[in-house]
């Protein structure tokens, strides 16, 4: 495009209808169309992916009769699916527990062509709950540390080389691959993080008594939702810090100066004159964080996720510590399992598409919310 224009320098002509200008216009139009095509091609690809998943996924989740939603899909955890024909020529698809019941009910029935498909039966309650818990832990931790850090960086710290370096480091860490965060989480939270135990493990890095009969032992939390949530939190920490700082920076200096001039203390200034106006931006940042965290698989692969679990988190724990120190199923990991780790067949399809559909809709809702909020507040806030 560049060269074409270079080869034939446009001569200034007084006649606006001269052919050369016309050629230029045509070329302009051609390039415009090309650019537009490229843009809409991207959107078409996205549309195709959405359409494919929605068309194949929606029938699993919705039903034509009341209550219009496949309740079983949302109230059960993944199970093995058994597909078999009985001697009377009927084919059945039952979850493993139903299958055992069926066999007990019909002891004489001859079963032909029995196939099992792991993780293809039941529903997605377990993974949904797991993802929600992981996201919750992560957001609580990341927002607490991220917010305070950004407030310190923007409001308290003195400007200088050191702080610039810190900022640069944070920016750089935002681009580190998520799997590296997974390795880090495994190394720190699963294997070294401190716990209070009655007797320290041999594996512990070091340990010392804090109370009679209690030790603080650096032996790690093991594979559990705490470790996963913290790993995810560390992963989005740079993003949250950067976003929160951005929204703090957007508050005009005059607000602070006016507040201080009126005799307010530093903290009063921050809490009354800065934070309320930065709040929408921070909310947007946290929702963006949720979007990213909920979709991540790599960091939780070794730190928290489990392919199969019979009980829901609150059924298996008897104390608060026990609740957080169990591993969970998670939606992205569940999708990875059903997509790549089990043999494919037509019977695994509903589970695959159903989970992907629900998961995508959930993440997309958060994403849409954050994009909408950003646009909305950008329009609204004017100073």
């Amino acid at each position: 495009m560049h060269d074409l224009a270079k080869d034939k320098p446009v001569e200034k002509s007084l006649n606006p209808f001269s052919t050369k200008d016309f050629a230029l216009k045509r070329r302009d139009g051609f390039i415009r169309t090309l650019l537009r095509l490229a843009t809409y091609f991207i959107l078409a690809c996205a549309g195709f992916i959405f359409a494919d998943i929605i068309i194949k996924g929606a029938p699993v989740v919705f039903e034509s009769s009341f209550p219009f939603v496949n309740t079983k899909f949302f109230t059960e955890s993944p199970e093995t699916l058994v597909v078999f024909d009985t001697a009377d020529g009927e084919s059945h698809q039952l979850d493993f527990s139903d299958y055992s019941q069926f066999k007990r009910d019909n002891p004489d029935m001859k079963i032909i062509e029995e196939h099992t498909h792991s993780y293809s039966g039941g529903g997605i309650l377990g993974p949904l709950v797991g993802t929600a818990l992981l996201t919750l832990i992560c957001i609580v931790v990341a927002l607490f540390i991220g917010l305070t850090t950004s407030i310190y960086l923007n409001e308290y710290s003195s400007k200088g080389r050191f702080m610039d370096m810190v900022r640069l480091a944070i920016m750089n860490l935002a681009g580190v691959p998520s799997i590296v965060y997974g390795l880090f989480g495994l190394g720190l939270f699963c294997l070294v993080a401190p716990v209070i135990v009655d007797a320290p493990n041999d594996r512990a890095l070091f340990s010392f008594p804090i109370l009679p009969g209690k030790y603080l032992s650096f032996e790690g939390w093991g594979t559990c939702m705490m470790a996963g949530g913290f790993t995810l939190a560390v992963m989005i920490l740079p993003v949250i810090i950067a976003a929160c700082e951005e929204s703090l920076k957007a508050i005009p200096m005059g607000f602070r100066e006016a507040s201080l001039a009126l005799g307010a203390t530093k903290w009063q200034t921050i809490s009354k004159a800065v934070l309320p106006y930065a709040f929408p931006g921070m909310l947007t940042a946290s929702i963006l964080g949720i979007t990213r965290v909920a979709g991540e698989t790599a960091p939780i692969m070794f730190t928290a996720a489990l392919a199969h679990k019979d009980v829901l988190p609150w059924e298996g724990a008897n104390s608060l510590g026990g609740f957080f120190s169990q591993s969970v199923q998670a939606m992205p990991y569940h999708i990875y399992t059903v997509a790549a780790r089990i043999p494919q067949s037509e019977y695994t399809k509903p589970m695959q598409y159903g989970s992907v559909f629900v998961f995508m809709i959930l993440v997309m809702c958060f994403a849409a919310l954050s994009i909408w909020m950003r646009i909305h507040y950008r329009k609204k806030v004017k100073w």
Binding site: T39, A46, I179, G187
Partner: protein, 717 residues
């Protein structure tokens, strides 16, 4: 703390006065404001410490890899395995040459019987398809037949019982005449057996009735099966012959159908006459073609035979090296075993056990093996190698020259194979020359520096784990896969993303901007596992089908045989990178000062001339930064490559030129995700994976840092 503040600020005293007032609440001269400051400062340092810890923990788990790896490589050398692998490399190089020639030969031989082979292939796949489609009826029929067989067995047993009972019933009756004394009991018995007999008779009747029923069912079902097969064979699905298969000639289709129908019948044991005939014909033609190509065949066979002496030499050496390796391993684990035994002895109460354990601990041989001695048998045979290798080389050279000219070959695939063979031949010759030197100079006690072992990791061509011979940890296969996929993704993503950014920022009307921009940003939120899922289930298949289209066969790598390839992963990653590049590039375009645009327009340049000659060049460094950050995102992406790249640990074969994109590969991110869950904590393999993580970390830091630098430069304009 905030509560105290609120109370204060809500108090009756005026705020102005408050700030001049002496602070009431103080510890060690620090007021509430200082504590708030420390609270925030503390959290900030916590965040920074955590982020520093990332490096510390990656290093903590990973850094021990280098000494361990060094030790492993040292024992590899001490055991003589290194030398054996030199010989092995020669053999491998020779084998690829031979197989290329062999493929060419068979392509030539099969050329004449292509028609028959196509028919046979089509027949087989149609039969498999039809069987698959009618699986259900088929299964039921088989179940019935099984039941029928069971019933037949049962009937046999029952008939035997019946015979016995009839005899038993007859015997007492005969005996009764001889001995009247036990009559009462006998009568009882015979009554008993009569009842049993009746029962058995009843059962027999029941079984026979069931068998009749079954026969009827089977009759019905086989009718049904026949019908279903008829329907199935008429469908297109049955004629889906698989990837890259040729269609059989039109006149044979009916016969294939007939043969399939014949085969689908439950009683069919033999093959249909047509198929037998075609097989016969194909065989004949092949034999004839082979006769014509005897010279070629002998040459190929000669090539295969030439490697035999060196192969047996190699396996002899290998045996010695394996023995050596065992010795060395025994030595290296000896202190640990001894320690474990001593500890066990300490913890046992029983004095006898204790004594036994102590004895065993003392018996553990902790003397270092004499490397000179264990390697002596290898050295003894080293001189043989030169002659063997030279022979092999000369022989192969001679035979290679004896191969037919490329122009004599008639099939395309044979010609292609010859092209490969030429490359392989050259490689083989070089390999032999190089390795002859290496073998001559090889010393088991040659010093191995830590630097050498580090290079063996970074430039190692193999990543082989859990092998009984030696575990190799070489980064190159993973790095090349990662880079190749990223480059493809970038090549595809950059034009689209930049074009979209230019369009949205400069060309599109306002309303369109407000729709397109959020829509593209929305793509960024698609979770990577969802994209990977899409790639594995939908896109892979679509891509392969597209690659089969005839008029696209000029595209390198097409038609593709695999679903999960570098190209598939690259295209999906391109889609993932587009929003990142788009957003940042659009920002860069947005930041171009308006004065530049206005000046250009005022000079009479058209809108697009302004865009491409003023705005884009000005924003170029911003766009480059965007591309770099997009690259960072692609290189670090895990789930998509894990799911769709094919996960084959091998350096992509670049002899195919751009066709390399149709191969599967493995990546650095993928290997961590795939293998870390399965290795022991603290093992060499585990540490190797952490080091791979460190390499990734460094790459992404470098990319991000460069991008920041470029951006800074851009901001100065």
């Amino acid at each position: 703390m905030s509560d105290t503040n609120k109370q204060k600020s809500g108090g009756k005293k005026s705020k102005v006065a408050e700030s001049f007032r002496k602070k009431g609440f103080q510890i060690f001269g620090l007021g509430a404001q200082d504590f708030i400051r420390f609270f925030f400062g503390g959290n900030a340092s916590l965040a920074i410490i955590i982020l520093i810890l990332i490096c510390v923990f990656l290093a903590r788990e990973g850094i021990m890899f280098f000494p361990d790896h060094h030790k492993g490589l040292k024992s590899y050398r001490l055991a003589g395995q290194e030398l054996v692998d030199y010989v092995g490399e020669e053999i491998d190089a020779h084998t690829s040459l031979y197989s290329a020639a062999n493929v060419a030969y068979y392509a030539e031989v099969n050329r004449t019987s292509q028609e028959e082979d196509t028919i046979l292939r089509a027949y087989r796949s149609v039969l498999a398809n039809v069987e698959n489609m009618t699986k259900k009826t088929w299964g039921r029929l088989e179940a019935w037949q099984e039941e029928k067989e069971d019933l037949e067995d049962e009937l046999e047993d029952l008939l035997e019982d019946k015979e016995k009972l009839t005899e038993a019933a007859a015997a007492p009756a005969a005996a009764a005449n001889d001995a009247n004394a036990d009559q009462a009991a006998d009568t009882n018995e015979s009554e008993d057996s009569a009842a049993k007999l009746a029962e058995v008779n009843k059962e027999i009747a029941a079984v026979e009735a069931r068998m009749k029923e079954l026969d009827a069912e089977i009759e019905l079902l086989s009718e049904k099966l026949k019908k279903e097969v008829n329907v199935a064979i008429a469908s297109d699905e049955a004629w889906d012959l698989g990837v890259g298969a040729d269609q059989p000639p039109a006149d044979s289709i009916d016969e294939i159908k007939e043969a399939v129908l014949f085969e689908a019948h439950p009683d069919a044991d033999e093959e249909h006459a047509f198929i037998v005939e075609v097989k016969e014909r194909s065989k004949e033609k092949k034999a004839k073609a082979a006769e014509e190509l005897t010279g070629f065949k002998d040459t190929v066979k000669g090539i295969q035979a030439a490697v035999r002496p060196i192969r047996s030499y190699h396996s002899d050496l290998k045996k010695i090296a394996v023995e050596n390796k065992r010795e060395i391993e025994k030595f290296s684990t000896a202190p640990e075993r001894r320690k474990a035994l001593l500890e066990g002895a300490e913890n046992t109460e029983d004095p006898e056990d204790k004594q036994e354990m102590l004895d065993r601990a003392n018996a553990v041989d902790i003397t270092e093996p004499e490397y000179d001695k264990i390697n002596a048998p290898i050295y003894e045979r080293v001189p043989e190698h030169e002659k063997l290798a030279a022979d092999l080389k000369a022989e192969t050279e001679k035979l290679y020259a004896a191969l037919p000219e490329v122009s004599e070959l008639e099939t395309k695939s044979a010609r292609e194979s010859f092209g490969r063979a030429e490359v392989y031949n050259e490689r083989f010759q070089n390999r032999v020359e190089e390795n002859t030197e290496k073998v001559k100079e090889w010393r088991h006690d040659k010093n191995l520096s830590i630097f050498e072992s580090a290079t063996a990791f970074i430039f190692g061509k193999n990543w082989i784990t859990n092998s009984s011979w030696h575990d190799f940890y070489g980064l190159l296969p993973l790095l090349s896969g990662s880079l190749l996929i990223s480059i493809i993704a970038l090549v595809v993503a950059v034009p689209f993303a930049v074009a979209a950014a230019v369009y949205v920022n400069q060309v599109a009307p306002y309303g369109e901007q407000n729709f397109v921009k959020p829509a593209i940003e929305f793509i960024e939120a698609i979770p990577s596992v969802v994209l990977g899922f899409f790639g594995i289930l939908v896109f892979g298949e679509t891509l392969r089908n597209v690659s089969q289209v005839e008029w696209l066969s000029w595209v390198p790598g097409f038609p593709m045989a695999e679903r999960l390839t570098i190209l598939n992963a690259g295209l999906l990653l391109a889609f993932m990178a587009i929003p990142t590049i788009f957003t940042l590039a659009e920002d860069a375009l947005n930041n171009v000062p308006g004065a530049l645009t206005e000046n250009s327009l005022a000079m009479g340049a058209s809108k697009l001339q302004t865009v491409f000659r003023v705005i884009v060049p000005t924003a170029l460094s911003g766009i480059i930064a965007a591309v770099l950050l997009g690259f960072g995102r692609i290189v670090g992406e895990t789930m998509v490559v894990l799911l769709v790249a094919g996960n084959k640990i091998k350096i992509p074969d670049f002899t195919e030129g751009l066709g390399v994109v149709a191969q599967p590969a493995h990546t650095m991110t993928g290997i961590i995700a795939q293998e870390l869950g399965e290795v022991d904590e603290g093992s060499l393999h585990w540490r190797a994976l952490f080091i791979v993580g460190m390499v990734l970390f460094c790459i992404s830091l470098a990319v991000n840092f460069t991008a920041q630098k470029v951006l800074k430069k851009f901001q100065k304009i």
